[in-house]
Point group: C2
Chain length 491, copies 2
């Protein structure tokens, strides 16, 4: 594939000047349309060392308004990055609607040995990475983003010459290190690695664009033309496309998980006190072990209004070292958050290795409240199940331990609790009109929850339904599950 | 001071239990009031190694809702932190209204040798740091935050015993390093260093609370009592305090900088083309030098509507490597931003060493639009001049190079440009009703700008008025100033 490409293509100076000016003008104009149509644009530059990524990025951005783009150099993997799943670094930098993000070196590096080493990836994480990368691109495409991926290709001789030139100048010699030189020495091996990467991540909606880069002028013109063509296509698509069709989902009616829950389960006060103390002691120790072993933990709390999430979380954290965890309360999204992919705000809160993040409500809002209240279109919440599974798989492959709890109560119990809150002047503020409105839609929510529990219950991130009519029973059950799995994982 | 403190104070187990329960109950209740009254609370734990900071933080937080606080361990200074001014790490983590932030190890460390080394601080930065720390606390206090600072004090023998105990257990031995042991060896020298720090940062509105910590039970009770007392005081203050008095400012009428500006200055097209090319080439080289020398640059653009900020910025960035700069457009603040100190959102955007941040409008909105439109109270914008000077001094001491440009046009020129924009269908969207409304307040803005130019024109962060009736003249002038100062700084 790469080896068949004709790298002798050239543009002479005169043709370059003649061609470039109108392309620049066109791109300036298109940038305004991108803003107006709220299209987020992601451009990734990948390729050989010294293939001219920096130069081409500069040239491409020349006619653009610098207030409307961000450029990120992804070569160095710093501590914050290496202590999180690879896609954290990329997802948190995705553009909001109408803006451009340019990545100098793309996420695909993590699927190749050299990158996997920098990211300190396990074999599992490394092998699963191209799947994760494709899922990432699919999510962004579905969100409406335009993704343009460039691979800058140069020949072995050309790379050698460029290294020599860079090395001969004291102002640029620092830019070449041993890994670069090795890449040239083992050019044909690396060619195969690149080809493999390109084949595995060449998606219909985000294909690779190979740029013959021996001649920088030729490469510049081709990059411009590609970007313009892709943006024009995207604008046309945005103008003509109907809301996507929803698909016919499986029939779930046979197996609704919530129907099988035994809400009569209770625990005696004496047993509760004894077990609470014992389990909290264990959790506290496990917290330190997590820190020492640099494992991250994500705990998701979902459940009916008044199911007791706050009190349950409190019992989990009470004896934990507060330096090791963070509770993340999720409210309705801000304007900035709504201008990004809905998973963006959760990626921003993902814990680093050694730490625990407890989500009080979570990304599952997409398939519950957003579904029921119509904040997400049907095609959006329908594809969210896979998006969420993919995100959790990526975190799992990184080594994150994931817990997901559905705190379940029945409708009578909820009414009792609502009334009790209203009668207590200290707790009255916890009950709002919205709670009563949600209650009226109990059946709709029940269906949505059942679907969620079925479709996002995975081996690597399973749901546990917590019988919560009795709050004490619920707290002990959560603690027991946490302790059991963490002990096993930290053995 | 520290040496006079009686470290033998103790609380026995029975008294501890009896005292603690009601204190915990009281604190739980107070937390609700903090939320309701929108008071941001900052609690810092400082003190000797092994003085029990972690334990005391855990115990203090025990009765609190974990969804309402964040704990940050500030011991390790990572790459992102060391490449920015010290206060960046602390300011970006300040709580929003109604929330608590607990810092395990406080900002004051940077004013002591051991901390200054970790932060890689210059002598200038280190010596100015206590001033910066006090200014930081003053800013937060003025914003309405409650700041509680604890210094945990233990004796030499007690510290030695604790080290021994920690070392004897393989689960905890990793927590003690050579620096800790040295602190004990040189206990009396360190005592003096701590005393000096405490004296220099003991502010009326954020005083230090010394905690005798040889006995952890005694320390726990005292920490609880102090926190409760301080919160109660603060709530009372919030209930009774009137809007603060504004102060009588200097009389400026004699020396209004904008009156002296010669707006007839122009440049010929030929000279413009020649100089632009030459200066852009230099700026591009200087960008690489900045990167290599790890210097950060902040460029602030302020000016009248239609003064040409966008085009001016474009000429500065055009030939810069896009990986080395970021343009930060400033719009009206989000809800989250309004719940923080107004400088918080700007701190979040400060460049790291080796990078350039260009602000298209900035923190100076506080003393212009927020003053004129009444978004800030008089006392708020009046104290903003010093707050801004303090922030810029701290950045300067860190090594950041600061430029501030006021793009100046006259009222006729603005009208001409507004009309031209309205007549151009491609630019019509750039003119809004707000622009016309602002124009009606030209004289008010002129006064505010004059005050700003006088009161925030410092040696370390000077203002330059850019005569911008002629856009080309303005662009060349900005480039010349950038090149001249950067060349000098990078010599």
């Amino acid at each position: 594939m790469l080896s068949n490409i004709d790298l002798d293509k050239k543009v002479d100076s005169k043709a370059y000047k003649n061609e470039l000016a109108p392309l620049q003008k066109r791109l300036t104009a298109l940038q305004e349309v991108i803003k107006e149509k709220n299209i987020p644009v992601v451009i990734a530059f990948e390729g050989w060392s010294a293939s001219g990524k920096g130069t081409l990025i500069s040239r491409l951005l020349y006619p653009l308004d610098p207030r409307n783009f961000n450029v990120y150099t992804m070569a160095k993997v710093n501590e914050d990055a290496v202590m999180r799943p690879v896609l954290w670094s990329y997802f948190t930098k995705t553009p909001s609607k109408g803006r451009l993000t340019i990545y100098d070196k793309s996420w695909h590096r993590a699927g190749m040995d050299s990158g996997a080493e920098k990211w300190n990836m396990s074999k599992r994480a490394r092998q699963g990475f191209f799947y994760d990368a494709n899922a990432f691109e699919e999510q962004l495409s579905d969100f409406g983003a335009l993704i343009i991926k460039f691979f800058l290709h140069i020949s072995k001789d050309e790379q050698k010459n460029r290294f020599k030139e860079l090395q001969s100048n004291p102002d640029t010699s620092w830019r070449i290190d041993k890994a670069d030189l090795n890449q040239n020495k083992e050019y044909s091996e690396n060619l195969k690695i690149f080809e493999n990467m390109l084949h595995n991540t060449n998606n219909p909606r985000s294909p690779w664009n190979i740029i013959e880069a021996n001649d920088t002028k030729y490469a510049t013109i081709k990059v411009y033309k590609t970007v313009i063509e892709k943006i024009e296509e995207k604008i046309k698509e945005a103008e003509t496309s109907e809301v996507k069709n929803t698909f016919e989902d499986f029939d779930f009616t046979d197996s609704m998980p919530l129907e099988k829950v035994d809400l009569s389960l209770t625990i005696s006060d004496a047993e509760y006190d004894k077990k609470l103390k014992e389990l909290q002691g264990k959790i506290s120790d496990l917290g330190y072990k997590l820190y020492k072993k640099r494992k991250s933990v994500v705990i998701v709390y979902e459940g009916w209004d008044a199911a007791g999430k706050g009190g349950n979380i409190k019992r989990v954290t009470e004896e934990l070292d507060p330096r090791g965890y963070e509770v993340v309360p999720i409210a309705s999204p801000s304007k900035e958050e709504l201008n990004h992919h809905y998973l963006w705000r959760f990626w921003n809160k993902m814990p680093k290795d050694g730490h625990i993040a407890i989500f009080d409500r979570s990304w599952y809002g997409r398939v519950m409240v957003e579904r029921i209240e119509g904040y997400a279109r049907q095609d959006e919440w329908q594809r969210a199940y896979k998006e969420i599974n993919d995100m959790e798989l990526h975190m799992h492959n990184h080594g994150t331990i994931i817990f997901k709890f559905w705190l379940h109560i029945d409708k009578d119990e909820q009414l009792k609790r609502f009334k009790a809150r209203q009668e207590n002047p200290l707790k009255r503020h916890k009950i709002t009109d919205e709670d009563w409105r949600n209650r009226e839609k109990w059946n709709d929510y029940e269906t949505a929850v059942n679907h969620m529990l079925i479709k996002t219950d995975t081996e690597y991130a399973p749901w546990t339904i917590i019988e919560s009519n009795n709050k004490k029973f619920a707290r002990i059950k959560v603690l027991e599950i946490l302790v059991k799995k963490l002990e096993k994982e930290l053995e």
